[in-house]
Symmetry: C2
Subunit: 299 residues, 2 copies
């Protein structure tokens, strides 16, 4: 337990391992337990380093829930070989999620074929057909649904901030994610509300309510929108309270939609990564208790 | 005429004076005429430097249409004095637009009260109520409509990229802009489609069609989404063809919506600003003819 938290306060708080990037999976598990949190969100690279079976045993032995596995996705390839490779990799991710004991596999669906690299310039003559890229995402999700259902794992579509639409994820709003999910059972395809990505959306309240009504609200992730943007905007996330996000309103909407699951803190930020992990967890706990937790009590 | 353009090709092309930032209004008018363009989009600061009457005479004497005046807006103040000052400033902008002979006054509606400055960090304890800020924008538009109608000027709401929602404009999608416009006549409140701001929107085709059907499609502005983002993301716009925007699709949707007006090129970019204005106009003309014009012919 940190000084600022009480056990009941942090029962739903989850550390996403991307927040403490320098920690191994084992260190992150131990730190999460020391801080008294109930859950941990895992990235596949950390799991692979530790070994899948070892990672699963470690988390289970620590008595932590796995709130989600990050991440599958990257489904926008135009050629058959690329599409097949994407399906194959995502099947592996589904198996990993099931082995780790989480039903929620977060999906970052990929950008335009014209992208030279994440954050990189457009390829001259590259494919800029955004409508087509979105159609391929929907098709690949359809390909993956039966396998996910067999393994009791949900494909959790992550709408990403439109500033990443070109190079990282062509799903840009919660409503769009729910439209892609619509043909499939709620236990096969869900959505995540990540405040950093969706806080600006004029439809947010309505689409969170829709996600709840459809039983697709699979994860709530919190971090803040800070300005000025970092040189690499992917690293612009801040601690809750340091930026512009109205956590009181969004938390109220998520709660009204019936969400009672874990609340993951996922912050990509060089300064946070340069801070010792236990300090980061103490700050996160304090900010969560002050800015997020009050909105999570049903009224 | 530039070498690459024919008079009929550039008849609808308009130079927004923000693209040639170093030019005075007089220089921009002369350059636009030299390049054979039919129209010019003016910023208020350039008009003020020249003097309103002189600016109007200069543009009129050159035989150019004024495709729009940039910009009114900044309507999110929480206090009465701030709201009154905003209405006052926008009335002045309406009069300027009418004097310059344009019906289209572009409105950048303003960010959250928590913003310390455009692009700046959030003020501790500042007002982050995005829903409330959007409500005030709608209220101020209502305040301004009668005055705009009296002067034959349309308030043209500009949805800005969600990366500017905190600090510059809480209208983030075309659909949201049309919802704000809905209570008023189409000649009082319109919308602008600026490719840089809206290219990513999954609802874009549908909302452009809606804007056309409602008679509110007041302006089409083109520039490209380039990566990596500039240190100041406001200056990240690029020449058409250098980035990720699918001009073929968006131009087709705008044309199908019945838009036959001018096409403004508005590029904020330090490198463009450092290039001699006549060169910029030659590049713009070339890129327009190659990437934008083909999509503007009705099929």
């Amino acid at each position: 337990m940190t000084k600022s938290g009480h056990a009941s306060d942090v029962a739903r708080l989850s550390l996403n391992t991307a927040t403490t990037k320098r920690w191994t999976l084992g260190e992150a598990v131990d730190g999460t337990v020391r801080a008294g949190l109930g859950a941990i969100g895992l990235w596949r690279d950390r799991v692979a380093e530790a070994g899948l079976a070892e990672a699963a045993a470690r988390v289970d032995g620590a008595g932590l829930r796995v709130s989600s596995l990050c991440r599958g996705g990257f489904l926008t390839a135009t050629d058959d070989a690329g599409a097949r490779a994407a399906v194959e990799d995502n099947r592996a991710a589904v198996v990993e999620a099931a082995t780790l004991g989480t039903a929620e596999l977060i999906m970052v669906v990929g950008g335009l074929p014209a992208a030279s690299a994440p954050g990189g310039p457009a390829l001259p003559g590259g494919d800029r057909d955004l409508v087509g890229a979105r159609r391929r995402v929907a098709d690949r999700i359809g390909d993956l649904v039966p396998f996910a259902l067999e393994h009791g794992v949900r494909l959790v579509l992550e709408p990403m901030h439109p500033m990443f639409a070109a190079d990282r994820a062509v799903i840009s709003t919660l409503g769009q994610a729910l439209d892609v999910a619509a043909p499939y059972p709620a236990k096969a395809v869900g959505v995540v509300v990540d405040t950093y990505h969706v806080w600006w959306d004029p439809e947010l309240e309505a689409q969170i309510a829709r996600a709840g009504a459809e039983g697709r609200l699979a994860s709530y992730q919190v971090s803040d929108w800070i300005l000025p943007l970092a040189t690499d905007p992917l690293l612009s996330r801040g601690y809750m309270g340091d930026g512009y996000v109205d956590f009181a309103s969004i938390g109220r909407w998520v709660t009204a939609a019936g969400y009672t699951g874990d609340v993951e803190v996922e912050i990509f930020n060089q300064e946070v990564w340069d801070t010792p992990g236990d300090e980061v967890l103490a700050i996160i706990t304090d900010r969560y208790v002050r800015h997020v937790l009050p909105s999570l009590t049903p009224h």
